[in-house]
Symmetry: none
Subunit: 193 residues, 4 copies
DNA sequence: CATGAATGAGCCTTCATTCAT
DNA sequence: AATGAATGAAGGCTCATTCAT
C-alpha cells in the first residue's frame, strides 16, 4: 500500500489536477486531460505523468467518496438489525451516486484503471454482500436477489434519477423514492409461482 | 400523415441505410453517418439526405420496436385485471429495452429528432399512465410512484442490466428478476413512517 | 436576337426561378441553384436546364436593371448640357448599384455568362464613353479620367457604401455624398504639375 | 503588451505559417487553414494552435503593413501643411491597399479577430480623423466628408482598381489617378445647391 | 521532472453537378 | 422536359497522445 512519496512540488501538482478535475466533474463538464492541464495551469505532460488516462483521473476523483462509502458500510455491519443495516447502506450508496457525478461511471465500469479502485470496489461489494446475506438469513429480503445485483441496482436507480430530472431539482428526493420502492420489493415475498 | 412515397431506388437505399444502422446498433457500435454511408456503399450525401442527424437515424431504427410496444400497450389496456395489465406492459417494455440497444437512448432523450418518435413516446407514456392510474385506483400499487416515474424506472432497470452483465448472457433473465423486484416494491405498502 | 419561344409551362418555370432568385438577392442570401430549386418548388434539373451556372441566373436577374440603365443612358445623351448629362447618368448608375445587389457582381465580373449581358455592358460602356467624351470636349471634366474608368469608379463607390454602412441605413444618401465628391473631382482642374 | 516569447521551434513554425499565408495572399489564393498546413508541411493542429481562425491568420499577415501605415500616419501629422499631410496619408494608404491583398479584407471587416488589429485600425482611424479635421479647419477640404468616410473611400478606390485591371498592370498608376480625382473632389467646394 | 508544441487521424457537414427515372 | 436522388470531393474542426526542449 505504500507508494513512493511524491516530491513536494509534484504533490502540489497532483492536488491541483485532482481539484480541477473534481470541479469539472461537478459542473458536468467531460474530463479531457488537455483541458484539465490548461485549467490547472500545468503542461499536458505533467498531467499525463500523474494520470495515464482519463479514467485514472476520474477514479482518483471518485476515491474519497468510495472510501467514505466503504467506511460507512463497515459501520453498517455493526448494526444488529439486519434489515435496517442493509437499508442504511443502500441509501447511502444511492445518495452518493446521485450526488457525485464521478461515482456512476467508475462504479459501472467493467474494468478499472487503478488497482486501488479495484480494491475499494471489491471491498464495497463484499460489505454489500455480507449485509445482504445477513438480511436474507434473517428472512427480511427475498431470495432471488444476489449480491452481484446490488451494484447494478444502485446504478440503475442513479440512472433512473438522471432520466427523470433532465437537470437539477429533486434529485435526492427522487432517489429516495425510487430506492424506497425497490426496498419494498426487496422486502416483499418472492414472485408468484 | 400521408408522405410522398419514395422512388423505388431511393426506397432501396433508405432500407440499406436503416439495415446497416440496425446492425451497428446491435453490435454496440456507435452510429456515425459517414461510417453508415461507407458500409452501405453509398455517398455520404445520400445518407444525409435521408437522415439529417444521427438521432434521426437512430429513432428510425427504433421505430418498429416502439410501435410494437405501443400496440402491446393498447392490448394491455383491454385486460380487466389492472395489476396484471400494468405488469404485462412493464415486462414487455423492459424486455424491449434490454433486447434492443436503439431503445434506451431514444427513450431517455429529452428531445426527439422525428415528430413520429414524439408521437410514439407520448402514446406510450399515456398508455403507461392510464395503466398505472387504474392500478392505483384498484389499490394494487403504492401511491407515491407517479406516471412520470415509469420511463425512468424502466430505463434504470435496463441500465442495471447493462451494468450487471458486461454484455453477454442472461440479459432477459436478469431484467425479469429486476423487474420482479421492482414490481414487488410497487405492490408493497407505502414506506414506513 | 430572336430566341426560340419557350413552351408555356417552361416559361412559367423560368419566371418562377428568376423571381425566387430575385428575392434571394434582395435578402442578401447567396444564390445556390439547389436552394433556388427548392424554393421555386422545382427540380434542380429544371433550374440547370434554364441556367447552366449561378452566374447565368444572376445576370438574368440583373438584366432588367441593366436595360433600364441603358435606356436612361440613351435619354441622357439627348440632354444638351454635357456636364448635366454625365452627372445624371452616373447618379443613376450608382443609385442602381447601391439599390440592387445583383448589379455589383455582374458589373465587376471580367467575364459574362450570357451574351446578352455582354451586349448590355458594352452598350452601357459606350454610352458612358460618349457622355464623358462630350463633357471632356466641353471642358467640364478633367482629362486624365478615361471612359474605361467610369465603371470601376461606380463600382468603387458602391463598394465604399457597403463598407460604410455595415447594414441598412443611409445607403442612398451615402452614395450621393460619395458621388458628389467624385464629381467635384471630375470637374476640378487636372492634378497639380 | 508583453507576450511570452515562443519557443524557438514554435517560432519557426509560426514564421513558416505566416510566410505561406503571405504567399497565398499574394497569389490571390483564398486562405484555408488546412491548405496552409499542407503547404507549410505542418499538422493542421499546429496551424490551429497558432491561429484559431482564418481571419486571425490574415490579420497577422496584414499586421506589418498596418503598422507601417500607422507609423507613416504619425509622420504625416508632423507636416505643417494640412492639405499636403492629408494627401500624403491617403496616398500611402491607397498604395498599400492596392499593393497588398491582405489589407482590404482586414480594413473592411466590421469585426477583428486579434485585439492588436483593433488597436491598429483605431489608431489609423484616429490619425486619419485628425488629419481630416485639420484640413477641414484650414478650409482645404469640403465639409460634407466625415472621418468615418475615409476608410470606405480608400476601400472603394482599391476596389475600383481591382475592377479596372483584371489583375495585371498599372495598379498603382490607376490608384494614383483615382485618388487624384477624389482629392480634387475633396478640395472642391461643397455640392451645388 | 515539467513543459507544451506538434501531430494527424477522424468526424462532421455542405454543395455543385450528374443522370436514371 | 422535368424531376430529384445520388454523388463525393472538399473544407472545417477537435482531441488524445507523443516527444523535443
Amino acid at each position: 500500500m505504500t507508494t513512493t512519496p511524491l516530491r513536494k512540488d509534484a504533490a502540489r501538482n497532483w492536488d491541483r489536477i485532482v481539484a480541477v478535475a473534481r470541479s469539472l466533474v461537478d459542473q458536468g463538464i467531460p474530463l479531457q486531460l488537455n483541458d484539465v492541464a490548461r485549467r490547472a495551469e500545468l503542461g499536458v505532460g505533467t498531467v499525463y505523468r500523474h494520470f495515464a488516462t482519463t479514467e485514472a483521473l476520474l477514479e482518483t476523483v471518485a476515491t474519497p467518496c468510495l472510501e467514505a462509502l466503504v467506511a460507512h458500510g463497515e459501520q453498517a455491519l455493526a448494526d444488529t438489525d439486519p434489515g435496517r443495516a442493509l437499508e442504511a447502506f443502500l441509501t447511502r450508496t444511492v445518495e452518493a451516486q446521485v450526488t457525485d457525478a464521478s461515482l456512476a461511471p467508475v462504479t459501472a465500469a467493467p474494468a478499472d484503471a487503478l488497482p486501488h479502485t479495484t480494491e475499494l470496489k471489491k471491498s464495497l461489494w463484499s460489505t454489500g454482500s455480507a449485509l445482504l446475506d445477513r438480511a436474507r438469513t434473517a428472512g427480511v429480503v427475498r431470495t432471488d436477489v444476489a449480491s452481484a445485483d446490488l451494484v447494478p441496482l444502485m446504478c440503475g436507480i442513479a440512472y433512473a434519477v438522471d432520466v427523470h430530472s433532465g437537470g437539477s431539482t429533486d434529485r435526492i428526493d427522487t432517489a429516495h423514492r425510487y430506492l424506497a420502492t425497490l426496498l419494498g420489493g426487496l422486502r416483499a415475498a418472492p414472485p408468484r409461482p
